[in-house]
């Protein structure tokens, strides 16, 4: 296929050609960034969370007398563990993805605690059976012993008097990159420190706490004995039992503490609620992309149809002097390919610029370069698809048109 005649023809149609290039460039720029945002959000929703999501029910209990907590909690846990199907149950202060939670700044020494890069982490606390109720996956070290739970109470500063802590793999990597975390100390406040006895697979925090995806796995776990501040229970069962178990658990707690406000939720519902906004944003982005591509495609169809109509005579002449239908088809396809290429080239630069702008004004990371060629290919395909119908119509122009005067 010769390119010169195409370029010569395009030079006669500068404005329509320019409009197609512009439209493809804009579509490419928006598509890159929108698809990147979709990918980011889907990635966020798929971040691993090493707990038994399918089997966990969460029961929050509010409005009880905090001074009776050390009697109420063992009684409630006993009752919960008697429900058939419950494999583990413990009192917690919060749940992953629960929305609100306890966050605290930690350091590896009292000195670096107040420095700018002391990470803010989620502080989970649970009573005995807590690791089993969540199904924490221990990667190194050990879990807590019975004595460690029993010896730990919650002081007035809401810090457990325990001396041991479990950390997630990501937090261990953040605090002691490249070293083993076991035996190291974490400082929370200048006087309080805990020794790491085990590292567990990554567990999400209750909220991102303004840290974005980077800190989403920075969690630590402390053992406590039944105490005030432990406002919720976790019950774990086989996934098929979870609804029945949760209903029974809520009924049990309501009958044991009639003055309390008890609310039971399945973990799967907690997750759905947490990501509801993200999910609706994804759908909105997908919708915009689809409609935008459709509008672009129709624009190409409209403009190409127009100039196929304009060039009926020239096409007829070419056919009369020996061009096959295939040649004509190829001509328009190549022309569209050239225009798309120009549009895509400008579009990729534009996309990069938009990404830079978004990085400056929003919590946005740099777009990986693969998005650029990916949406370039998408737009090439779209262009070829859109040009097909008008190009076929052009290919069907009979050679006899050349000999007619009109």
């Amino acid at each position: 296929m010769q390119i010169q005649p195409i370029l010569a023809a395009l030079r006669k149609h500068k404005i329509p050609a320019f409009l197609i290039v512009l439209e493809i460039a804009l579509a490419c720029a928006v598509l890159c960034n929108a698809v990147f945002m979709i990918g980011q959000r889907i990635g966020e929703m798929r971040v691993p969370n090493a707990i038994d999501e399918a089997g966990i029910g969460y029961i929050s209990v509010r409005g009880t007398d905090p001074n009776l907590a050390n009697a109420d909690i063992p009684r409630d846990l006993d009752a919960l563990r008697q429900i058939p199907g419950v494999t583990a149950s413990a009192a917690f202060n919060m749940i992953p993805l629960g929305g609100s939670g306890w966050n605290t700044d930690v350091g590896t020494s009292p000195e670096n605690l107040l420095s700018k890069d002391s990470p803010n982490v989620a502080q989970y606390m649970f009573t005995q059976q807590g690791p089993e109720a969540l199904n924490l996956r221990l990667l190194q070290g050990r879990s807590f012993s019975g004595e460690e739970y029993a010896a730990s109470t919650l002081g007035d500063d809401f810090m457990p008097t325990a001396h041991v802590v479990l950390v997630t793999r990501s937090l261990a990597e953040r605090l002691w990159p490249g070293e083993s975390a076991l035996g190291k100390r974490i400082w929370i406040g200048k006087q309080t420190n805990y020794t790491v006895v085990g590292v567990v697979a990554d567990v999400l925090r209750p909220n991102q706490n303004g840290l974005g995806a980077a800190g989403f796995h920075w969690s630590l776990f402390l053992p406590v004995s039944p105490n005030k501040g432990m406002g919720a229970y976790l019950v774990r069962s086989a996934p098929q039992d979870r609804e029945r178990v949760l209903r029974a658990a809520v009924q049990k707690i309501e009958s044991l503490s009639p003055a309390a406000v008890v609310k039971g939720r399945l973990f799967s519902d907690i997750r759905d609620k947490f990501f509801a906004n993200t999910r609706s944003m994804v759908w909105m982005l997908v919708l915009v992309c689809v409609v935008m591509l459709a509008v672009t495609a129709f624009g190409i169809v409209g403009l190409t149809s127009f100039w196929v109509g304009q060039r009926r005579r020239q096409i007829g002449i070419r056919r009369a002097v020996g061009a096959t239908r295939g040649h004509i088809l190829q001509y328009f396809q190549t022309e569209n390919f050239l225009l798309s290429s120009a549009g895509v080239a400008i579009g990729m630069i534009l996309a990069f610029g938009i990404n830079l702008y978004l990085m400056q004004h929003y919590q946005m990371t740099r777009m990986p370069w693969v998005y650029l060629p990916a949406s370039a290919i998408a737009l090439w395909l779209l262009g070829q698809l859109a040009v097909l119908a008008p190009a076929l119509r052009a290919a069907n122009v009979p050679p006899v048109v050349a000999t007619r005067s009109v």
Binding site: I15, P16, L19, I20, L22, E23, L26, A27, A29, V30, A34, M37, R62, G63, S100, L114, S115, K116, D156, D157, F158, G189, K190, Q191, G210, A259, A260, V261, K273, A276, N277, S280, M281, M284, L285, V288, V291, M292, V295, T296, F298, G299, G302, L303, S305, F306, W307, G309, Q310, L358, Y362, Q363
Partner: protein, 437 residues
């Protein structure tokens, strides 16, 4: 002439139905998307108290410890006007502004008196007396409490209209007793519907930024004495005692002041600086910086509008731009196809100006049709947003101003789109067009 151009435009639309439909549809989609997101953005960045926002100010100080390296601007962005109990009470009692109120949010447990009804939790505000007057909260029954009640830790409460409906069937409940967190409070007032959007006073206190109003309002000191927990506590030093938040190194209450005018605001800022300087010299505070944004300035500082809403608006306008380019292309195709018709009109005496006008009228008609369709799409879009889980979802509506903006955007977009084709049309040389026929 205008009527004639309209007639010509309609004829041309009839002649090219598919192309016209495509143009109107694309423009309608672009406008619909832009208006939907713009309406949401306007709602999210609106003025919560249009009558008094210019007079309301949020004093900000830096309560962090000696060795803190956080710049105050960063602290204020994160914490807003959050301060410690001691500072808030000192500033409240100084009464250096026309009105001032200290507040915190709490979850209140309400126990209905009727047997068999379950207790439930509602959003509560712990505040001092000026809260209602400063924030334009009007009363359906009764009124607020006095500064004296604050100091006496009186067990009085104001409840929202919707809670009054739920507990007392909407009757005048002033004088009735409600049981809140297992303490008896006497109702002194019932509010009319009151839910400023955004909930400017709530965000730094750990509340949501938009959505329903609060249900229960209690005197801050009384509620604090009854051990109601504030929703957001930011501690910045060791020696934290959760049972004595009034002396703990923790920021958990916020202060709002009402000042008459700019001169007053200047005077108050000086007062605030002097107060902080004095506390620094006493060794209680360590950072002399202060800030006094007004309500709208404060909302801007807090970046209260969700990023997603702003991103969506950018995206929608990008999409509108694509739709406009698309319309330019299609209009151009349409009008170049009519070169012969233009040639005939020119030969019969039409001026360039009248050809230009004719095509601009045609574009404007596409624009108006696109605008009408855009409104339909915007209503659909807003309906879809109302079904969304976001906390501001239920507020998404099109107001008359946005209605007008839709048509302005539609007309401007279509006229811009029409410029190039109309110009191309009016420079068509008549002779070759007539010859080729």
């Amino acid at each position: 002439m205008f009527g004639y151009y309209l007639d010509l435009a309609l004829r041309s639309f009839r002649h090219n139905r598919v192309l016209t439909t495509l143009m109107v549809l694309a423009l309608g989609l672009g406008i619909g998307a832009s208006i939907t997101t713009l309406a949401v953005l306007k709602l999210l960045s609106g003025d919560p108290l249009p009558q008094s926002s210019a007079r309301l100010f949020a004093p900000e100080i830096d309560p962090l410890g000696k060795d803190s390296t956080t710049p105050p601007e960063r602290l204020w962005r994160d914490w807003g006007n959050l301060m410690t109990w001691t500072d808030a009470m000192n500033l409240l009692h100084a009464r250096a502004a026309q009105r001032q109120a200290v507040m915190a949010l709490t979850q209140t447990k309400l126990t209905p008196q009727a047997a068999g009804q379950h207790p439930f939790y509602s959003d509560g505000v712990m505040a001092t007396a000026d809260f209602f007057g400063m924030f334009d909260a009007a009363f359906q029954y009764g009124g607020g409490w006095s500064a004296q009640d604050d100091e006496n830790r009186a067990h009085v409460a104001v409840i929202a209209g919707f809670l009054n409906d739920k507990l007392f069937g909407g009757k005048d409940s002033v004088g009735q007793i409600v049981r809140i967190n297992d303490h008896d409070y006497r109702i002194v007032g019932v509010l009319k519907a009151w839910a400023p959007q955004p909930r400017f006073y709530a965000t730094s206190l750990g509340g949501r930024g938009y959505g329903n109003g609060d249900a229960v309002f209690l005197p801050l000191q009384s509620a604090f004495a009854d051990k109601m927990n504030p929703q957001n506590v930011n501690c910045f030093d060791t020696g934290i005692d959760a049972n004595h938040l009034d002396t703990a190194p923790c920021a958990w209450v916020s202060l709002w002041v009402e000042l008459k005018d700019a001169a007053d605001a200047g005077a108050y800022k000086t007062f605030l600086s002097n107060y902080v300087a004095q506390q620094v010299s006493l060794g209680r505070l360590h950072h002399p910086e202060v800030n006094l944004p007004n309500l709208m300035g404060y909302l801007a500082q807090q970046q209260i509008v969700p990023d997603d809403a702003r991103l969506q608006t950018n995206l929608a306008f990008g999409f509108l731009l694509i739709c406009v380019v698309n319309t330019v292309g299609l209009l151009l195709a349409k009008c170049l196809r009519r070169s012969r018709e233009i040639g005939v009109r020119r030969a019969l005496g039409a001026t360039r100006r009248s050809i230009f006008a004719q095509f601009m009228v045609e574009s404007a008609m596409v624009g108006i049709a696109g605008g009408v369709l855009g409104l339909v799409f915007a209503e659909l879009g807003l309906f879809a947003i109302r079904q969304q889980p976001a906390e501001y979802a239920s507020l998404a509506h099109l107001d008359p101003a946005m209605f007008a903006v839709t048509f302005v955007i539609a007309l401007v977009a279509s006229l811009i789109a029409g410029l190039l084709p109309a110009w191309r049309a009016c420079v068509v040389a008549p002779a070759p067009q007539l010859k080729s026929a």
